[in-house]
């Protein structure tokens, strides 16, 4: 759709956005499996939830075009019901209740942040539902919480791996951590400090932060790089802030390495930081060309149709729906309405990862060593380096 035509439709659609609920058209025939998706889809962090939504919709389209998903010999068409939680725990609770009690949803993708994920835990327990969260807090996935799983690699898992790699290959000895001044950013900063100490790296700065909504990063970056650390870690950085931070650092004469533990988008980096972002290290999903399967290529095409253009961050969000479906297949039809059956089936799931070529990277539930129960999707830790407009795979790690 052209931008001009979007403008015409936007005024009408804006009213629908205000309602907060949207759904894919119901599948006309056969049995339908309703999957909820809740996340922030408006305001400053809208990209986080929308990427989840678009990824789920794109994959749903693929599954339905292939005739549906087989559970116990019956093909189910998938329907995604999306709710915007506006990054507000109260809205997240109301939205989750609506999905569970009004729409009859048992499995939910999201929310995106710790606060919302924590808020809906009692709702999930009471309503007998299960979710795959993109918050990072350990308590979300550890007993007594049973109905929440981590859908990605957390910063405290990827940070030590990335720093060790850089220590071994690039010989870094010093680093500075620069987080955003909010709960997630500060938590990422603490993880950065802990991982650096563990590896014997000298921390030159970790007390500087920037406010959410900052547009000019010159002042704060100037303070952090004055000691010229070997590595500048943009702790838990939002994709929107990363290019501006990188550009500010390079314009202020910083020559060292930069990294983050979160996923980025190549186009945003290119537009915002240009060649200054070359060498920037981040954690990708399954989207780097050298590792992705034809199925992933197809997913990217579908994603482009749904969202208008590809976003590399979606490579880390593609696993949630796949894992829900695979676990339901292992649990059998009972799992569709009974989350306990789903939970029992989780340890049994071990299937080929349809998104990456390496067949040794199986899809399964992990997390025992971090959460004392299997409550994490085994997303491959694809550590990437940005070079001239695209990501190159540095190495693929795993979390067990």
């Amino acid at each position: 759709m052209t931008t001009g035509r979007r403008i015409v439709g936007a005024l009408v659609a804006a009213v629908a956005v205000g309602l907060g609920l949207s759904a894919e058209p119901a599948v006309a025939q056969g049995k339908v499996l309703k999957i909820g998706q809740i996340g922030v889809m408006s305001g400053p962090a809208a990209a986080w939830g929308l990427i989840n939504k678009y990824a789920a919709q794109a994959q749903t389209k693929m599954v339905n075009e292939d005739g549906g998903f087989d559970i116990g010999g019956t093909k189910y068409k998938v329907e995604i019901l999306s709710v915007d939680d506006k990054m507000d725990p109260r809205v997240a609770i109301a939205g989750t209740e609506r999905l569970i009690y009004e729409d009859g949803v048992k499995y939910i993708i999201g929310p995106n942040v710790d606060e919302d994920s924590r808020a809906i835990i009692p709702v999930l327990a009471k309503g007998g539902a299960f979710n795959i969260s993109y918050g990072w807090l350990r308590e979300l996935f550890s007993p007594p919480s049973t109905n929440t799983s981590l859908g990605m690699i957390a910063g405290y898992q990827s940070a030590p791996v990335i720093y060790k790699y850089l220590k071994d290959t690039k010989g870094i000895k010093t680093l500075s951590c620069l987080p955003r001044n909010d709960a997630s950013g500060l938590d990422s900063r603490d993880n950065c400090v802990a991982a650096a100490k563990e590896l014997g790296l000298k921390i030159l700065s970790s007390d500087s932060t920037y406010e959410p909504g900052t547009t000019d990063f010159f002042p704060v970056v100037g303070r952090v790089i004055k000691d010229q650390p070997d590595l500048l870690v943009l702790s838990g950085v939002a994709p929107a802030d990363a290019p501006l931070l990188i550009r500010a650092a390079r314009e202020l004469g910083y020559k060292g390495l930069m990294s983050t533990e979160t996923a980025m988008d190549a186009k945003i980096l290119t537009e915002g930081a240009g060649k200054g972002a070359n060498g920037y290290i981040s954690v990708g999903g399954a989207s780097t060309p050298d590792i992705r399967t034809p199925y992933m290529e197809r997913f990217i095409k579908e994603y482009e149709k749904v969202a208008g253009e590809w976003n590399d961050e979606a490579g880390t969000k593609v696993y949630a729906l796949e894992m829900i479906l695979q676990t339901l297949r292992a649990a059998g039809p009972e799992g569709i309405t009974n989350v306990d059956a789903f939970l029992k089936a989780m340890p049994k799931v071990e299937v080929d990862n349809p998104f990456v070529k390496d067949k040794s990277i199986k899809l399964k539930w992990i997390g025992d060593s971090y959460f004392h129960q299997t409550r994490q999707v085994r997303v491959p830790m694809v550590v990437t380096e940005f070079q001239d407009g695209s990501f190159k795979t540095l190495f693929i790690g795993t979390v067990e």
Binding site: A14, P44, A46, P243, E271
Partner: protein, 286 residues
């Protein structure tokens, strides 16, 4: 220290451009335009679209942003604010309307331009190093254009007939009416100029920062801070407030741990407004 001064000056000039439109609309209409940040974002997106999607030059994008935002301002004034201000008995109605227009604009921007952050290459590339200070050429360019825009705007307000009419309305709406000033026409013009200036800010700053559909509210909050600091509805006050905030941020980030920089700025603002509620250049009588 030198870098702090450079950072503060550049930041202050950028902020001044953002605050000007807000204070003008407040002065003319008595409306705190909550959609100000969203208008800034729209200005940035229009320039992005013209430059990156249509492949046209930056100055075409800049003109397009100013014109489109001017028209949006005109539309808002004619279709929404004029009507509500005539019929509503309570002042809160315009405030609620302003919040509504902010939500509307944010949703429209999200639908049209999607969720990704956008920016364009700096109009002028390179970095100047002067006595140990780093001055990116792109920022110097924006500083220069913003300065010219500020001076032009002040000259317009001081020395043209519409400018004098706008100042008269800002000082006393009723007396201006008695003096034969066409309030409807000049209110619409004031709103259009205020929105156009915001579009100019968004257009210029997208070349050194970036825009995304959700950043409008934080921009509005910063603009409110500047306007309250300087004195609501006073153009020179908005500029002063912008530079105070710019230098405070630059110095705060340089010398105070980041977590408390903004906390201290807001505490200072509360204390300042408690002592001088009308701001730096506002008049105690309004």
């Amino acid at each position: 220290m030198e870098q702090v001064i450079v950072n503060g000056a550049i930041l202050g000039m950028n902020y001044a451009l953002i605050a000007l439109g807000l204070t003008l609309i407040f002065a003319i209409m008595g409306v705190l335009n909550f959609a100000h940040g969203q208008m800034y974002v729209l200005g940035g997106f229009i320039t992005y679209y013209v430059v990156s999607q249509l492949g046209l030059g930056f100055f075409v994008g800049l003109i397009a942003s100013v014109v489109v935002l001017g028209l949006v301002g005109l539309l808002f004034e004619r279709a929404f604010f004029r009507r509500v201000m005539r019929t509503a008995a309570r002042e809160e109605s315009t405030m609620l309307l302003a919040v509504g227009t902010a939500q509307l604009l944010e949703s429209v921007i999200l639908i049209v331009f999607r969720e990704k952050q956008r920016s364009i290459p700096a109009v002028v590339s390179g970095v100047y190093e002067v006595f140990g200070m780093y001055i990116p050429a792109g920022r110097a360019f924006v500083f220069g254009v913003a300065f010219v825009a500020l001076v032009t705007f002040i000259l317009f307000m001081q020395h043209t007939r519409p400018g004098r009419a706008l100042r008269a309305i800002a000082q006393d709406r009723e007396v201006s009416t008695l003096q034969g000033v066409n309030i409807d026409r000049y209110s619409a013009l004031g709103f259009a100029i205020g929105a156009g200036l915001t579009g100019l800010a968004g257009s210029l700053l997208v070349s050194i920062f970036a825009v995304n559909s959700g950043m409008g509210t934080s921009i509005s909050i910063k603009a409110f801070v500047m306007v309250m600091l300087g004195g609501a509805g006073v153009v020179s006050g908005a500029i002063a407030g912008a530079f105070v905030l710019g230098f405070s941020e630059a110095a705060g980030y340089a010398y105070i741990p980041g977590q408390v920089t903004y906390l201290l700025i807001f505490i200072a603002l509360i204390v300042f407004l408690a002592l001088r509620p009308h701001g730096i250049m506002g008049k105690p009588w309004g």
